[in-house]
Amino acid sequence: MAAPFPNTPLNLLSKLKHSDSEKIWEISWKRFLELYHEPLKVCAQALYRSHTGGQIPSQQFIEDVVADVVAGFFRKDGERYDPSKGRLRTYLRLITNRRLIDLLRAQMPASQRDLDPEMLDSLQTESPQENDAFQRSLLATLLEELRSSIPLRQFEIFERVKLKQQKPAYVAEDLGLERAMVDRYIHKAMKKLREIASQPEYQ
C-alpha cells in the first residue's frame, strides 16, 4: 500500500512558469510534458473508461487530451493554477477530466451534447496506477532538482551508481578515483536528495 502522496513540488514548475522569457516558456512546457505525460495519460485513460462505461480510448484521443491539458496549463492566456485552492495534482486531474469531457462531447451528435454538469468536477478515486505514475514523475522531478543542486561530478557518480546501477568499483576505476571517494559522493548526493524531498513543497 503506497504511503500518503505528498504535494506535487512547485519549485521547479513555479520558477519556470513565472518567467517572462519566451525561451523559458518553450523549455518549461516541454520539460513538464516529459516529466508528467505518463500520469496525465494514465489519468485520462481511467477517466475515459469511467465516463464511457468501460470503453478503451484510442491512443490519438488520449494524446489529444494530454496536449489540451498541457497547452491550457502553459498558454499565457490560459487558465492558471492557484496554489491556495488545492494541490497541483488534484488540479491537473480536474482539468484532465474537463478536457476529456470536452473532446467526448465534440464527438457526440449535437442532440446528445448536454452532459450532466456534475461530470465536469466529479472525479473518481485515484487508482493505484495513477498514484504510481504520479509518484514516478515526482521522483523524476526530485532528481531534476538534485541535478541542479550538487556539483556535476557528484551527480555523475550518483547517476552512474544509483540510477544506471553500475558497480561502484567499476565507476571508481573508470573515473580514476578511490572507491571511498565514490562512496562519499553517493552519500552526499543521497543526503541532498533527502533534504530536497523534505521541503514543504514535497510534503
Binding site: 504511503a3 505518463e38 487558465e79 514523475s137 523524476a140 531534476e144 540510477l163 544506471k164 533527502r194
Partner: protein
C-alpha cells in the same frame, strides 16, 4: 511506490530491503524520464501542444469555471 516516504523519513535508518526498494524506484523514475526525452509519443504530443499554444484561445463555455 514508497520512495518519497523513505526519502522523507530521516529519523529511522532504512533497512537493506528498504534501501534496495528506494534504489529500484529511483532508477525506474530516472529511466522513464530518460525514455520520455526521445519518445515518439511525447514528440507527437509536443507537436500538438505547439499548434495549440499558437492558435487563438477559444472562449470558455460557462460550465468550465474553475
Amino acid at each position: 511506490m514508497k520512495a518519497i516516504h523513505y526519502l522523507s523519513r530521516s529519523e529511522i535508518p532504512l533497512s537493506p530491503e528498504e534501501e534496495s526498494l528506494l534504489s529500484q524506484e529511483l532508477a525506474s523514475a530516472y529511466h522513464q524520464d530518460e525514455t520520455s526525452a526521445t519518445s515518439r509519443e511525447v514528440e507527437r504530443i509536443a507537436e500538438k501542444i505547439k499548434a495549440r499554444m499558437t492558435r487563438p484561445a477559444e472562449p470558455e463555455p460557462p460550465s468550465d469555471n474553475l
